[in-house]
Symmetry: C2
Subunit: 247 residues, 2 copies
């Protein structure tokens, strides 16, 4: 069997998340339907680097699947882009060694979270951001991000929502940058892996820091508690984008 | 009567253009409905700086209206933003002198047009851009933009589509910049006024230049012909944004 790796970009608003569901439109379903149609045989994907939730965008999502089909990579990519809904595109497609696994082979993933920090909402970036009216204190949020960096048990920042609980909730954040340009604040987080809703939960807590509802040092206590109830709510999915995966 | 000037931002995809129509949702209708509701009296706008078409976005659209209502500007702005659909926002609102007219008082307007110039479509910017697969020749497009600058009769670039014909189709383009960042090409055009679909028609012709279907010098002939049939088709509305109006 050939093992094919592909990089996807998609608009999260058009799908109910990456993972296939019975009743709602998902990226996985769109991809498998198109693959099966083009290769003229039922084709399922083996893995994705991560399952993005409803509303979460991807500028760079990696998927792999196995096939006996002989179609050339460039030809398959073009055919897929011709058949897939406009809200998803195959940015690249290549044959890889049989042991490549989009999820298990990933060394790190990078997510970006965007906040529109202005008293008045911005309709033009509303579908790509969280709107926070009150001015956020950047240096407090940066101090918080610094505390979150490194290897920690992030159980307090892992939502459960009916998802199978991860046995091991220790992850290592190797990068946590917060940049501001005009009224746009962008978080960029890189880690060796992410728990369910981890980025959205971390961002929500940093926003509480920025609003003065928490102090940076409180994050240490929340981490230590290993209790989801201790951290803030989840920030909405539409502000989040998966932007890179390294292998 | 007080004369109120307001600056709007809106997502063009949510409306069938700015101008009120019988059967479709427009920005004007949304604004007049909200104003009438808040001021508790039937309120119509006097003018907008320009009527953006279906799909065209605005980061900065200026509107004025007259009212006897005594509500303070900041209060009215907040009330409007609370009532208006999420796809439109009032960025600022102030009382101005009685002779201010959003359209006639405008000295110049600036539009931006965005092209995603890459063999593969980008779902994340699709609703804000035109996708051109073939590599565009930037220096040819810039040479064309240079020819279009200055005072000309732009009749060849004015669509009619059932719109009342302008008596005078002479306009002065004071700026026509083309910037490229990665695969994004952005046109920025400033003029003392624009004919119906003028920017979209100019951009379409510049794209033909970029594709080698026209030479920069051909633009002089097209301008001289004063005949709409001589220029290219219109570029789609979703790539266009009204970004500033000067008074």
């Amino acid at each position: 069997m050939r093992n094919i790796k592909l990089v996807l970009e998609y608009d999260g608003l058009s799908f109910f998340g990456f993972q296939k569901q019975t009743r709602h439109r998902s990226v996985q379903e769109a991809l498998e339907t198109s693959l099966s149609q083009i290769l003229n045989q039922k084709t399922k994907i083996s893995a994705a680097s991560g399952r993005t939730d409803t509303g979460v965008h991807a500028a760079y999502q990696v998927v792999n699947f196995k096939t006996n089909a002989v179609m050339k990579p460039l030809q398959l990519q073009k055919a897929l882009n011709g058949v897939l809904p406009k809200s998803v595109a195959v940015k690249s497609l290549e044959e890889v060694s049989s042991n490549f696994h989009a999820r298990y082979s990933a060394k790190s993933k990078i997510y970006e979270y965007t906040i529109w920090n202005h008293p008045i909402r911005s309709p033009l970036i509303a579908s790509r951001s969280l709107h926070v009216r009150e001015k956020l204190n950047l240096s407090k949020m940066r101090a918080g991000a610094k505390i979150l960096m490194g290897k920690h048990d992030f159980k307090s920042f892992c939502s459960s929502n009916g998802m199978p609980q991860e046995k091991n909730s220790v992850r290592k954040i190797s990068r946590f940058e917060i940049r501001k340009q005009g009224s746009i604040i962008q978080f960029r987080v890189e880690a060796n892996g992410f728990l369910y809703r981890m980025v959205r939960n971390l961002v929500a807590s940093l926003v509480e820091l920025g609003l003065g509802k928490l102090e940076p040092e409180d994050l240490r206590k929340i981490l230590k508690a290993k209790d989801r109830k201790r951290a803030g709510a989840s920030a909405p999915g539409c502000g989040l984008s998966l932007v890179h995966v390294t292998y």
